[in-house]
C-alpha cells in the first residue's frame, strides 16, 4: 500500500482553479519528484498536503488515514513534514532554536538530542554556527538549516519544495547528497523541483505537472528519456 496517497485533488485560489484533479502516490522508502514549470501547481500540491491550503475536492491519505481535514500542526504530528520553498527559517532565532522548533511536537528528550547530533553530523557547518542568529547564515546554510529543521520532526514523509533554488552548484550537490542520505536512512521523500535533471537523478519515479494537471508519470529513467520532458524541462 502506498504510504502517501493523493486522489483527485482540487484546489482553488479564490476563483482560480489551481489543481484540477491531481492524483499521485508515494510508496514507503521512495523518492518521488514533481516536476513542471512555474505555476504548474507543484508548490500548491505540497501546501495542500501539509494543510496550509484546504482542498475543495479529493482526498489525501497517509497509510490509509485521511489528512485532508487536519490542521497543519496535526499533520506534522502524523509524520508528514513540509520544508517550504524559500527555506523560511526563523531569522531571529538561533540555529539551535530553529532546530528545536523542528522538534516542537516531540517530548523524547534523548531522541531529540540524538537527532540534533545527527543533523549536526550531516551539516557540520550548522554545528559551527549553532549559537548564531539564523538570519545571518548564507543561503546554502539556510537551506541546510531548513532541511535539518524538517528532519528534527522525525518525519515519515518529507516534502521538499525547491531545495536547490538559488544555490551555487557545489551547494546543490551537497544538498542532494543529504537528500539521498536522508532517504537511505528510511525517510520517504516527495521532492518538488524546477531543476528537473537533479530531481530525476535521485528520484525513483516522477510526475510531470502542467497547469494543475498530471500530464505524464513514470519511472525517473523513462521520464529522463522522454522526448517531451527533455525538450521542456531538461533543456535538450
Amino acid at each position: 500500500m502506498a504510504l502517501l496517497e493523493v486522489e483527485n485533488l482540487h484546489v482553488y485560489y479564490g476563483n482560480i482553479h489551481a489543481l484540477k484533479g491531481i492524483s499521485l502516490k508515494v510508496d514507503p522508502g521512495e523518492i518521488v519528484t514533481l516536476i513542471g514549470a512555474n505555476g504548474a501547481g507543484k508548490s500548491t500540491t505540497l501546501k495542500t498536503i501539509s494543510g496550509l491550503l484546504r482542498p475543495r475536492g479529493g482526498q489525501i491519505t497517509l497509510a490509509g488515514e485521511d489528512l485532508s481535514a487536519m490542521s497543519p500542526h496535526g499533520i506534522v504530528a502524523k509524520g508528514v513534514v513540509h520544508v517550504p520553498e524559500g527555506r523560511r527559517i526563523f531569522g531571529r532565532l538561533s540555529v539551535t532554536e530553529n532546530l528545536e522548533m523542528g522538534a516542537f511536537t516531540r517530548t523524547d528528550r534523548s531522541g531529540i538530542e540524538a537527532d540534533l547530533e545527527r543533523v549536526f553530523g550531516m551539516f557540520p557547518r550548522l554545528r559551527e554556527r549553532r549559537a548564531q542568529v539564523a538570519g545571518t547564515l548564507s543561503g546554502g546554510e539556510q537551506q541546510m538549516l531548513a532541511t535539518g529543521r524538517g528532519l528534527m520532526t522525525r518525519p515519515k514523509v518529507l516534502l521538499l519544495d525547491e531545495p536547490s533554488m538559488g544555490l551555487a552548484p557545489v551547494l546543490v550537490d551537497l544538498i542532494y547528497d543529504s537528500i539521498k542520505e536522508i532517504n537511505a536512512s528510511g525517510t520517504t521523500i516527495l521532492l518538488v523541483e524546477q531543476n528537473a535533471f537533479m530531481a530525476l537523478s535521485v528520484a525513483s519515479r516522477g510526475y510531470v505537472l502542467q497547469t494543475g494537471e498530471v500530464v505524464l508519470q513514470g519511472s525517473a529513467a523513462d521520464l529522463k528519456a522522454n522526448e517531451e520532458v527533455r525538450r521542456a524541462y531538461l533543456g535538450g
Binding site: G51, L52, P72, H73, V81, R88, F104, T105
Partner: protein
C-alpha cells in the same frame, strides 16, 4: 515628475526639521531656565526619578501586552487598557473583603498575594475570552476590522463594569505595612513605590525568561516571525496566539493591582489613560519588541514625572505638572515622526529566498 517629488519631499523634510529644532530649543531653553533658577534641590529630582520609575514600571507592564499581541498578530489590542482595569476592579472586591475582615493587616503578604493573583487571573481570563469571541473569528479579515472590534470590546468592558458596579470611585483598602516610607541607600522612598518597582521588575524578568528560555516562548517568537513556517513545524499557531494574549494580560492584571496600591482607588474608566500611555511606551520602545516595551515604559514614566518641571518650569509656565500628558503625547508624536521604529525597534528586513 522626479524633480517635483524631490521638491515635495524636501519641503516636508524642512517642515519636520523646523519642528524638531523648535522643540529642541524649547526643551533646552526650559532646562536652562529651570536649572538656573535653582528652585529645586537634588532630593526633589531623586523623588521625581523614583516616582517616574515606579509609574513607568506600571506602564511597562501594560505595554508588554500591547507589544506581544502586536508582535504575533500585527494587531493593536485597544481593549488592553480595559483588561488592565478589569483585573484591578475585580481584585478590589477581594481586597475590600480582606480589609473589612481585618485579614489584610493581620497577614498582609498573603492577602496582597491573593489580591494580585485574582487581578492576574481575571485579566487573563478576560483577554483569552476576547481573543476567542472577538478577534479569532476576524483573523482573516482586513487589519482595520479587528482594530474596530478591539475598540468595541473596550467600550463593552468599560460599560459592563459601569453597569454592574456603578460609575463612582471605589476606594482600595490601605495596608498598614505599606504606609509611610523606607529609607533605601539614604533616599526615602514611599513603600508602595518600592513594592511596585520590585514587583514589576520581577514580573518583567520572569516574562523575559519565559519568552527567551522556554520552548513555548521560543515557539511564540517563531510564530511572530513566520506564522506559516511555524505551523509547518507542528506549532499550534492558535495556541501560541492565545498564550501571547494570556501572558500579556496577566502582566496587565499585575499592573492593575500595583496601580491600585499606589492610587488606592478603582474606577470603570481607569484603564483608558494608562492604556494609551502604555501604548505610547510600546511605540516608544519599538512595538513588537519586548525589552523595548520595558524600556519605553520606564523612560516614559521618568519623562512624565521629571519632564514638566525640567522643561516647562524654566519657561515660566505656571503649574507645569498639569501638562505632563502634553509632554507624554508630544513625545509620542516626536517618536512617530523621527524614529517610527522606536528606541529598540529594528527595521524589518524581510529575507526572501
Amino acid at each position: 515628475m522626479q524633480s517635483s517629488l524631490m521638491r515635495r519631499l524636501s519641503v516636508v523634510d524642512l517642515y519636520l526639521w523646523a519642528f524638531r529644532i523648535v522643540v529642541l530649543v524649547v526643551v533646552v531653553w526650559g532646562m536652562i531656565g529651570t536649572i538656573m533658577a535653582r528652585r529645586y534641590p537634588g532630593e526633589v529630582w531623586i523623588d521625581f526619578v523614583v516616582y517616574g520609575l515606579s509609574q513607568g514600571s506600571i506602564y511597562a507592564l501594560i505595554a508588554l501586552g500591547y507589544t506581544m499581541v502586536y508582535g504575533i498578530l500585527r494587531m493593536i489590542n485597544f481593549a488592553h487598557g480595559e483588561v488592565f482595569m478589569s483585573g484591578a476592579y475585580t481584585a478590589y472586591f477581594v481586597a475590600a473583603a480582606f480589609g473589612r475582615s481585618g485579614y489584610l493587616d493581620r497577614n498582609p503578604v498573603v492577602s496582597l498575594l491573593v489580591v494580585l493573583a485574582v487581578a492576574m487571573i481575571t485579566s487573563t481570563a478576560i483577554a483569552v475570552l476576547l481573543e476567542r469571541v472577538a478577534y479569532r473569528p476576524l483573523r482573516g479579515s482586513p487589519r482595520l476590522v479587528p482594530l474596530i472590534a478591539a475598540i468595541g470590546a473596550s467600550f463593552f468592558l468599560q460599560y459592563a463594569f459601569r453597569g454592574f458596579f456603578g460609575s463612582g470611585f471605589q476606594a482600595y483598602p490601605e495596608t498598614q505595612v505599606l504606609k509611610g516610607t523606607w529609607a533605601i541607600a539614604g533616599i526615602s522612598i514611599l513603600r508602595t513605590q518600592a513594592v511596585v518597582l520590585v514587583a514589576a521588575v520581577l514580573m518583567m524578568l520572569g516574562l523575559y525568561a519565559f519568552v527567551m528560555r522556554t520552548k513555548t516562548g521560543t515557539a511564540m517568537r517563531a510564530v511572530s516571525e513566520d506564522r506559516e513556517a511555524a505551523a509547518l513545524m507542528g506549532i499550534d499557531v492558535d495556541r501560541a496566539i492565545v498564550i501571547a494574549f494570556a501572558v500579556g494580560a496577566s502582566m496587565a492584571g499585575a499592573a492593575g493591582f500595583l496601580y491600585a496600591l499606589v492610587f488606592k482607588q478603582v474606577h470603570f474608566f481607569m484603564g483608558f489613560i494608562p492604556g494609551i500611555k502604555a501604548f505610547t511606551a510600546a511605540v516608544l520602545g519599538g512595538i513588537g519588541n519586548i525589552p523595548g516595551a520595558m524600556l519605553g515604559g520606564l523612560f516614559l514614566g521618568i519623562f512624565e514625572s521629571a519632564g514638566p518641571i525640567l522643561f516647562l518650569d524654566g519657561l515660566g509656565i505656571v503649574a507645569p505638572y498639569q501638562l505632563k500628558d502634553v509632554i507624554a503625547f508630544t513625545m509620542l508624536v516626536m517618536v512617530l515622526i523621527f524614529r517610527p521604529s522606536g528606541i529598540m525597534g529594528e527595521r524589518l528586513v524581510v529575507k526572501k529566498a
